[in-house]
Amino acid sequence: MVLSRLTSLLRNLLDQQRQERELDREVRTYELLLADEKIRAGMSPCEAHRQARLELGGVEQVKEQVREMRAGHLLETLWQDLRFGLRMLRKNLAFTLLAVLALALGVGASSVMFSAVDSILLRPLPYRSADRLVVILNHGRGPIAPANYVDWKAQSKSFETMGAAEYWTPDLTGVDRPSRLWALRMTSDILPMLGVPAMLGRFFAKEEEQGGHEYEVVLSYGLWQRQFGGDPGVLGRQISLDGKSYAIVGVMPAGFKFAPFWATKAELWAPLALGPRATQRGGNSLRIFARLAPGVGLADARAELATTTARLEQQYPGTNRDAQVVPLKEKVVGRIRPALLTMQLAVAFVLLIACANVAHMLLARGAARAGEVAVRSALGAGRLRLLQQFLAESLILATAGGILGLLLAAGGIRALVVFGPADVPRVDNVSLDWRVTLFTLSVSTLTGVIFGLAPARRAARIDPAESLKEGGRSGDSTARHRTRSLLVVTEFALALMLLAGAGLMLRTLLALQAIDPGFDPHNVLTMVVSTSGSLVSAPGHSDGFYHEMLDQVRAVPSVVSAGLTNHVPLAGDIWGYPFWIEGQSIPAPGDEPDAAYRLVFPGYFKTMAMPILRGRPIEDSDTATAPHVVVINEYLARRYWPDQDPIGKRFTLDNPAKVAAKKLNWLTVVGVVKNVVRSDWTALPEEEIFLPYSQNAGVGPYMTLVARTSIDPSPSAEPIENAIWSVDRDVTISEVQTMSAVIARANSQARFDAVLLATFAAVALVMSAVGIYGVMTYAVARRRHEIGVRMALGASRANVLANILREGMALALAGSVSGILGGLILSRLMATLLYGVRPGDPLTFGGAAALLAIVALAACYVPARDATHVDPVVALRHE
């Protein structure tokens, strides 16, 4: 029996034409025989044939019933439906492309963003039980003094292990190309605490924390590959860092990174020997990493640390303040979370709008095809068969949209990594997540199926005869129109929220760009020059080296002026120092005024174009032997000498409680400069002091060169580097970048957010416009008759136009109002992303609503104008 079924299947598929012919003949013969019978019974031939046809119930229906039962029927019709579906879609190319594009955009954008959220925010950090790792920082962000770390480690019980790490940028010399490396010095607890085993060799041991034994290093995989060609025999070899010899004891596996939120470029880890520093309560330089002890919660650890620090503050006034325990992952991703969540919401909106739009198109087509459906069911297409056919079309659309969406997503992920804002944590880990992709694909497919089946479902309910008589105006078109109106309102609400979000970000970007950095960043090149690996770093030599180097740099033809500082604004660290003002009472420990501290060479202010408001800048005459001077910023001047001329005032960086009065080093204020942005573009100004390097030589092992050029600064980098190396070949040069690039990076997050949201909003705007246009076109077509009657009864064209526009604008308005309400609530999520504009900013929301209204008006105008061209005679006769 199986065999006979199988041969039938083959026959059905292979010899279809003959089969069809025979079937037709068989059924028609039946009808003829039936008529013969009736004629024999005395009926007139004409009446007999009519009766026979009625009794048969339609030749085509009977044939279709036979076909449905045949072997391979499902396969065959599915194939037919797919072919037919493709043909229909090709016939309506504009519709198809729009629908596929909308789906692809929705699927692609959401896949990228949801994957990013998953990889960046949700996945645990790549360490063992990473959720138990915490960091302890000053105010949750700043470093800690060594003695505090030593005390906490000894006195806390909440932590299984605790270790400290310190930023280190050693010069690697004795190799072909000396370079400055990013590295961390850290206590021996940290690497084992992370639970990532070394790929080669071992970690350093506790003993190496003793001063004089710290000359061992663990390499990153990347450095091992780059510098040693992946040589497995590298263990035990010596490398020269800052002129000292270090033994390589281990290599970490590929992909290992530490620390995840700061010094992320570190590719070398060495032991931290605190030595005499272990008792220092100033000089904050350590980041503390710890693992919570089993059974200890974050709240417990926080409470315990608070108790410990409060006790220690009693003992050592002015220290141990505001240390905070922060989960490591929170520290890594906390900053990016609001932006990612905002974007996630935005893409979800885009996906929804895309689905709504596809639903529109399918419903509109369904309406247009009501006639076709009626004809097909009159010709014997069964209900299931109709469903199957519409399903096939929807599936083709959804599949095409899905595939294109996946391609977009794959490209989008790469784009996110390449064009994404600077310093997004873990961005290189972002990969397309198949669960996310599956989800977005399902959403789009479901939309296609639900709305694509609507015409078939209706067809199953309505009587083909009625539908054909009515000329395609099926009975429940009002319900469909309501569905579509609801879709338009939803689209407009979502579009308004996206527009408002984009508007808020654009205004943020404008506000950020309007910030006066306090210097002129154009045509300024910066680079870090380190002397750690050179003989010139010896005491008493660096000042001379830097002066000679500056002379050489200034001799480069394109260089207009040049100067040096320890850290340029926005890049590098900020070193804070307490100070004591002459003639004022000595404040309690910990309450001293505090200033950011910068060392500069003459020419720095001029090169940066920082305006001197009073007095003079640092000059060549401020040598080591001259009276010690200082230039202060406007903020410090206003704060401590509000009504006086600060020039000639004196303060000291020495602690009067510890240094004898006679030995205090008094600094005389000789100039006031305009406030300059510091490490954070949007931070309010704070106290800042500028000291001549010559009077404070030997403070840092590296300085940052700033050079103003007459033309685009980038090509000058090479001649400047050569000029520096002409003085000493052993210095390293790193972080070559223009000041404009530094500023661009500082604002890259806001710019990226703005561009992305604006793109989403534009897509939403176009889709909503298409949506409302479709609905209004359909509404006009549906009401052609009514409009004809109105015009016949004397309604003017203006009346008709206003009428249609009013209907469209009512939808747009309803959408906008819901969007404003939703947006007012949701924009609060963005609060931390915004600058210079409040989340519920009325101007932005008003602007978004106005823009949306204009677009809606334009989209409604075309169908409304068409309505005015309705010729009453034609419209009425048409019925």
Partner: protein, 110 residues
């Protein structure tokens, strides 16, 4: 309609067609009329049920068909039982007998 019921009715229609064809080969209308005649008009088989059933039974190998001439010289498709069809009729008859007996007993039980 639950699947069991459908099967019962389909099985019944199959059985009646097989029975109708047990004596001689026939065309579609002939089969309809024969069933009407046997059941004295209780069952009237509509073409919408008859043709799908005939084609299905042919695919299952119970029937074979060929084109022949009708009484009033029209070319019609004639169906004939195969040996598999005969076996099927016997099986159906036995099954029906069992069901009828069971139902009768159920109804007579007090």
């Amino acid at each position: 309609m639950s699947p069991d019921q459908t099967n019962l009715l389909q099985g019944t229609l199959d059985m009646m067609i097989l029975k109708a064809l047990a004596l001689s080969e026939m065309h579609g209308l002939g089969i309809s009329r024969r069933i009407e005649q046997i059941t004295q008009g209780t069952f009237q088989v509509k073409p919408g049920s008859l043709f799908p059933a005939l084609h299905r039974m042919e695919e299952q190998g119970w029937l074979v068909s060929h084109w022949g001439e009708s009484d009033n010289s029209r070319r019609a498709k004639y169906y004939k039982l195969t040996s598999a069809g005969r076996r099927q009729l016997e099986a159906e008859t036995r099954r029906w007998g069992r069901i009828a007996l069971a139902i009768t007993r159920t109804l007579e039980a007090s």
